[in-house]
């Protein structure tokens, strides 16, 4: 029988499983038995309960300021069943129903543009590039709902450092997969494909900007942007590109998918801002899914989604009404 490279489990995942086994035998096993003092010897492990659906992706709890939201994490069922991923359909339930066709192995990410070290990165190398951290972030969708998700990954800055951007690189563009064979709605007129997103360089290297490979202690479900995606917690959700295949460094601000589709509604920055309404609805409040209850009042949306202390200085002096 011929073994295809795609049949082989990526090494980082195998090692991850071994790590998890080791941990079951030592650290968290002790936790289960109630001998808490033992934990003092180990680093703080990610505490999120695994749903047991996909391969585990072990991580350590991030110590980065802002990376451990105190909010109650959204149920895995909701986070993996209510998605905007238009390549698989525009209904919130479409991606979970259709994304099983997405093939995430083998996967490579191409680094190009204004960097000293362009090239193709196999997913396995990206998984092993930096230690995995668990970060619990609020996710605010531009549509007015929000979730709280324990992501697994590391700062995008780690990758950016490795590829050594040139001084002329001012922006980072993210190009996502557009495969009509596995993505049934690529070709629909809603957006231009491939879906692209972009960040200013200082936003891209901000430590809170996460390159995520997993959530809830496991690898990402396809409908959430497997095998790797961006998570920019202070911006509306659509800025966090899913299933990334190319990262391009450029001098000029890249075009972004929603901005091209409706420039007056979706700006390049798209920072969460309760004071700047979407032209068609208010952004002052949001419904926290699974928590605010069907008959409950919506909660107030926070400036920069509550990450103002960490990212506010990036926008000092910028007119946020004009640069929405």
């Amino acid at each position: 029988m011929k073994v295809q490279s795609s049949d082989i489990t990526p090494r980082a995942l195998v090692e991850g499983r071994r790590d998890a086994l080791r941990r079951m035998l030592s650290g968290s096993g002790a936790l289960a038995m109630g001998s808490l003092p033992n934990l003092g010897t180990a680093q703080v492990l990610a505490q999120t309960q695994r749903p047991g659906k996909l391969a585990p992706l072990p991580s350590k709890a991030s110590t980065l300021p802002g990376a451990q939201a105190v909010d109650k994490p959204t149920a895995y069922k909701d986070a993996s069943g209510y998605n905007n991923f238009y390549e698989f359909g525009t209904d919130k339930s479409d991606p979970a129903a259709n994304a099983h066709t997405l093939k995430t192995t083998p996967w490579t990410v191409e680094i190009e543009g204004l960097v000293k070290k362009p090239g193709r990165w196999p997913l396995e190398d990206l998984l092993a590039l930096s230690p995995m951290e668990e970060r619990i972030y609020r996710l605010r969708c531009v549509e007015g709902w929000s979730m709280v998700i324990p992501w697994v990954g590391y700062s995008l800055a780690e990758l950016i450092k490795r590829v050594e951007p040139l001084g002329s690189a001012k922006y980072v563009e993210f190009v996502t997969l557009a495969d009509p064979k596995t993505m049934p709605f690529v070709g629909s007129r809603v957006l231009e494909w491939p879906y692209t997103e972009g960040l200013r360089m200082d936003e891209a290297i901000h430590p809170l900007t996460l390159l995520a490979f997993g959530m809830y202690g496991e690898i990402l479900p396809n409908q959430n942007g497997a095998p790797l995606r961006l998570v920019v917690p202070w911006k509306y959700g659509f800025k966090s590109a899913k299933s990334i295949v190319k990262i391009r460094f450029s001098e000029r601000q890249p075009a972004t998918a929603w901005n091209k589709a409706a420039p007056q509604e979706y700006g390049f920055f798209s920072n969460v801002n309760p004071e700047v309404d979407h032209p068609r609805w208010s952004q002052a409040s949001e419904r926290r899914l699974g928590e605010d209850g069907i008959f409950g009042k919506k909660r107030k949306t926070l400036m920069f989604n509550g990450y103002e202390a960490q990212v506010g200085q990036l926008y000092a002096g910028l007119d946020l009404k004009k640069f929405y």
Binding site: V190, D277, S282, R287, I294
Partner: protein, 212 residues
């Protein structure tokens, strides 16, 4: 004949309670799904969209009554029309309550801010307001009081309501340029209204002395 037996069934005494129960099924589904937490991650949105869609579907069923009655000769359908009309109003009312209570948390100042921001809400609201006098005059006594001609005239507002409903749906979906379902319902309502225009035209032409 097959069609004749359908007509007999429509005329049967149990037809009306049967259709009544049938028309309540969407409501029964929402209540059970709500109870079993089966409406997905965003139940408020699911109910808001579901009630809107079923209002539109009821409207299609209602507008189908006259064409079916005339084309198939199913005169007994007339007996069901008022009830179906009231179901359109009922689902529109549930949709309205879902918007006020679930989407806007009953905050009137929020609603006043929301309506001018989202013109499709205004259009939906207008359609709902137009439905109210039709529902209020659905009783025999109201028809007697108004006189048949004026009553019929008033109830032609349902055609305006149907057009507003389609515009409301189209505008709501325009944000994501997701028009597949809109096109389907627009085609159905368009065909049902076109049939009425065509019939009027033919009748006018057929009546001696009124040809122009």
């Amino acid at each position: 004949m097959y069609f004749a037996s359908i007509h007999r069934a429509i005329g049967a005494p149990l037809a009306k309670p049967f259709v009544f129960v049938l028309a309540l099924l969407p409501l029964a589904y929402w209540l059970s799904a709500l109870w079993n937490d089966a409406l997905g991650a965003n139940p408020a949105e699911a109910l808001l969209r579901g009630t809107g869609l079923w209002t539109l579907r009821m409207l299609c069923v209602l507008l189908l009554v006259s064409p079916l009655r005339e084309a198939m000769g199913w005169t007994a359908l007339a007996r069901l029309r008022r009830m179906l009309g009231l179901f359109v109003f009922f689902y529109a009312l549930v949709h309205f309550v879902a918007y006020v209570w679930l989407d806007q948390s009953g905050q009137w100042e929020d609603i006043l801010g929301d309506v001018p921001k989202r013109p499709f809400i205004l259009v939906g609201l207008l359609a709902f307001i137009l439905l109210i006098p039709l529902a209020l005059t659905s009783f025999n006594a109201a028809m007697r009081l108004m006189g048949a001609a004026r009553w019929r005239h008033l109830h032609r507002a349902v055609y305006v309501i149907a057009l507003l409903a389609i515009l409301h749906f189209f505008w709501m979906r325009a944000g994501k340029r997701n028009f597949d379902q809109v096109a389907l319902y627009a085609a159905i309502i368009g065909a049902l209204l076109a049939w009425r225009v065509g019939r009027r035209f033919i009748r006018r032409g057929a009546r001696p002395g009124t040809s122009r």
